[in-house]
């Protein structure tokens, strides 16, 4: 009986993390569509950041994530999977008529679109999320159908940050 008990404990210690990893993989699975480009973005109020990084319990307070710069191509089917690390954020790419959509914390919000013109476009947060909301931007780079960089006149310069993330781009 002792051996059985020991085995159960070991199964628990190994099994629970494995189960968590498996469920996370399951939940992250996207429809099996050929050519679907999935981009995962997390919105963070502290610093006003859209990031590719996974912002979770152990790193939310410790580090400032890097601002994301998603890159897609004309004609691609793009799926944004959006998360919030703290409060309700918004997601909007006004020039491409994407959103505005609310990102609720604890859920994954999905937005699909297909870019039709190359260039650099502004992603902004449209629900006031804190002190850094007005500076919460990111740039979506849309390249040509074969990967050509966007034309010079379609490039975007982000407004300079005044209050948040002053020592980072």
């Amino acid at each position: 009986m002792e051996a059985a008990a020991t085995l159960l404990v070991l199964l628990t210690l190994i099994g629970i993390p494995l189960w968590v990893i498996r469920e996370e993989a399951e939940a992250s699975r996207v429809p099996d569509e050929p050519g679907l480009h999935v981009i995962e973005i997390t919105a963070v109020a502290v610093g006003g950041i859209f990031t590719f990084e996974d912002v979770v319990g152990h790193n939310y307070w410790r580090r400032t994530p890097r601002v994301a710069r998603p890159v897609v191509r004309v004609g691609e089917k793009v799926l944004f999977r959006l998360r919030s690390a703290d409060v309700i954020h918004g997601f909007s790419i006004p020039e491409l008529q994407v959103g505005p959509i609310a990102i609720e914390p604890g859920y994954v919000t999905e937005v699909r679109f297909e870019p039709t013109e190359a260039g650099e476009f502004l992603i902004q947060c449209v629900f006031r999320c804190g002190g850094c909301h007005e500076e919460m931007f990111a740039v979506l780079e849309v390249r040509g159908p074969n990967g050509e960089p966007p034309p010079e006149d379609m490039k975007l310069k982000l407004p300079a940050r005044v209050r948040c993330l002053l020592n980072r781009t």
Binding site: V87, F127, R128, G130
Partner: protein
């Protein structure tokens, strides 16, 4: 009224039974909610918007109303709390205020019961013919 992380201002509303209460609420920072228990009112307070989005929890499936002012009649007495219903940060579950509709009969009865209990205990203790409990 204003709402901020994590309180309402004024935190306590005192009205009388039968009063019509009109509330204009604006947010000073992020999206907040206003869920008033017992009055079936749930509002979303969106920053930079003059409108409140009102819904009624008991009536599911109804579209939200956009109003500038939340109006209701204080038709019950007692202390009711309003709480934030849109996740607004860390202390969101503790963001609440109080609506006190006078006369607060329940509270009065409760306090009376406390002292009544004390009096009853004293009475029982002082009766000479009973044995010690």
């Amino acid at each position: 009224m204003t709402a901020r992380q994590y309180a309402y201002d004024p935190p306590v509303l005192r009205v009388n039974l039968g009063d019509t209460v009109r509330l204009r609420i604006r947010s000073l920072d992020v999206t907040h909610g206003f869920f008033l228990e017992a009055f079936d009112i749930n509002a979303s307070i969106i920053p930079d918007s003059p409108y409140l989005e009102i819904s009624h929890p008991s009536r599911k499936g109804e579209p939200v109303e956009k109003v500038e002012e939340l109006v209701f009649v204080a038709d019950k007495t007692g202390k009711f709390r309003f709480r934030c219903s849109r996740v607004c940060g860390n202390m969101h579950p503790f963001m609440q205020g109080e609506l006190i509709v006078a006369p607060n009969r329940l509270a009065g009865a409760g306090i009376g019961a406390c002292f009544g209990l004390l009096a009853a205990a004293a009475f029982v203790a002082l009766r000479r013919d009973k044995g010690l409990p």
